[in-house]
């Protein structure tokens, strides 16, 4: 990360770098270089310089600060929109996304408890010298299984 990023200094450095790269691209060509290829080489040099400075800028504290504020702002807006829509749906005695997520979280939690209990039972059975089948650490989430067929193997 750049410790300091002086915009005006970087601006001057950028154009100086572009000029240097363009000159180098021009000098690299010889008399037999087709004109359009020479023009493309110069263009490529400009884009290289732009890319380099874009990368430096996106590592700078100024950009990171801007990114943080921008993301915080959009998340705040989205939070307010979510809260408004949730209240609206509740006022209309409907179901909001938050309610569905609460149910999903509860189902997932329940599934974990069931799977932990099954794991414990399997370990006890193995300890009793029962089934020698491979021990499975954890099966797929039961809440997400298809209703018609527990597992659709072909």
């Amino acid at each position: 990360m750049n410790e300091t990023f002086n915009p005006s200094q970087k601006f001057l450095e950028f154009w100086a770098d572009v000029a240097a790269k363009v000159a180098a691209a021009g000098a690299a060509g010889n008399g037999s270089t087709p004109p359009m290829q020479a023009a493309r080489d110069v263009r490529g040099a400009v884009f290289d310089a732009m890319s380099q400075y874009a990368d430096q800028f996106m590592r700078s504290p100024q950009f990171l600060e801007f990114a943080r504020h921008s993301l915080d702002g959009s998340l705040q807006f989205r939070e307010q929109a979510n809260d408004f829509l949730t209240k609206l749906r509740h006022e209309l005695q409907g179901v909001a996304k938050q309610d569905v997520e609460s149910v999903l979280a509860a189902v997932h939690q329940m599934e974990r408890r069931v799977m932990d209990r099954l794991d414990a039972i399997e370990k006890k059975l193995s300890g009793l010298g029962g089934n020698t089948a491979r021990t499975t650490e954890r099966a797929a989430p039961a809440s997400a299984r298809t209703r018609n067929a527990p597992r659709n193997r072909k």
Binding site: S51, A67, L75, E137, A140
Partner: protein
């Protein structure tokens, strides 16, 4: 009176440039005539090259089995595990640009795990649900179906990270492990993503609370901004200048079709990946939690092949290279290729040099069919 050499040389240069500009103007007419047909061509892009069948389904995931006339030469099957952020057909993009094709033609019984497209119902699924749940079930099914006691695993990008975690917990199920541009050690600050996901910049808990699943447009734009000049300026110019080349246009549209085919990432997976890996670097430190377990890469003892791209902006080499030092394997090899993150799989150099080498590596460590 004869002209001096200087005036004659200048006249030649002016004549050359005038002729070149005239040619370029004519070429531009030809290019512009092709542009209206691009949209239609984009709709006709074929995804996937190698014939396949779905042999296992569970919730949203599918296990694809690739079919070929080449007889299976090795007992141990190969399972491709891709990331959760994109569609996996990048590994079988088109004929001549397919990683799957190399393995199928080398005689491997080849499978690919398609994680599917998460819905809001998958919001609370964790990394453990994917690794010890879905991936475990898929590996067990492949073993059951092929009669093999273990599989060869090839993990790409985030799929590689997940494959490494799976192998460390279930080493007996993995015969050989190939890591393809997989992030393991996020301690350095080489990549822009590591800076952008820093806890001082990105509040992942708040993000997941607000959005639930990570929306596809968020990651797509983040990846675009890693190389804004190349992605937003150079690429369209390149397309315009080569629009009369049908092979180039086909490659371009196929690749762009995949690049824009992003999918949501389950919220809890996104939270764990950003927090435990990018922000806290727990996998490299040996403190990565996976449910009740703690992942220790030292438990990986199978042969390991670590493939890295030296021009990878998404997963810099510094993130992947540490893997070989962290595992307990004695048979470990690294191959670096001068390519980008996607070029490492589908680029021309990778297709000609890297994948034949990788197939030979895995063949030397796989049991042939009697």
């Amino acid at each position: 009176m004869p002209q001096s050499n200087g005036n004659h040389g200048t006249a030649n240069v002016v004549a050359d440039w005038t002729a070149a500009w005239a040619d370029e103007a004519a070429a531009n007419f030809s290019r512009m005539a092709r542009l209206p047909f691009l949209w239609q061509r984009a709709q006709n892009v074929v995804k996937g090259a190698t014939p396949s069948e779905v042999v296992y389904e569970e919730d949203r995931i599918k296990l694809l089995h690739y079919m070929s006339d080449t007889p299976v030469a090795y007992k141990t099957p190969v399972l491709f595990v891709f990331a959760l952020v994109n569609r996996p057909y990048i590994l079988d993009l088109k004929r001549g640009r397919s990683v799957v094709e190399h393995f199928v033609n080398s005689g491997f019984d080849t499978y690919l795990l398609d994680w599917g497209v998460p819905t809001d119902a998958d919001r609370f699924l964790t990394l453990e649900d994917h690794i010890n749940g879905y991936l475990m079930n898929v590996v067990e099914h492949v073993c059951e179906r092929t009669g093999s006691s273990d599989v060869n695993v090839l993990g790409y990008c985030m799929g590689g990270t997940m494959s490494a975690m799976f192998t460390s917990l279930h080493q007996d199920l993995v015969r050989n492990l190939i890591m393809l541009a997989a992030g393991i050690d996020f301690g350095s600050r080489d990549g822009l993503l590591q800076l952008w996901t820093d806890s001082s910049v990105f509040d992942v808990d708040r993000f997941v609370k607000v959005h639930g699943n990570c929306p596809p447009w968020f990651l797509q734009n983040a990846f675009l901004m890693l190389k804004p000049v190349q992605n937003l300026i150079e690429k369209p110019i390149n397309l315009y200048e080569k629009v009369t080349d049908p092979d180039f246009v086909d490659d371009y549209l196929t690749m762009e079709g995949w690049l824009n085919d992003n999918i949501p990432v389950p919220g809890e997976v996104f939270r764990e990946f950003v927090k435990y890996l990018y922000q806290q670097n727990r996998l490299a430190k040996g403190t990565m939690p996976l449910g009740k377990h703690q992942v220790n890469l030292k438990n990986v003892t199978c042969p390991v092949l670590n493939l890295m791209a030296t021009k990878d902006d998404l997963v810099p080499c510094s993130q992947s290279a540490a893997f070989n030092q962290l595992v307990g394997s004695t048979d470990k090899q690294t191959i670096e290729l001068k390519a980008g993150h996607i070029g490492l799989a589908v680029g021309s150099r990778a297709q000609k040099e890297l994948w034949p080498q990788a197939c030979q590596w895995i063949a030397a460590r796989s049991e042939p069919v009697a």
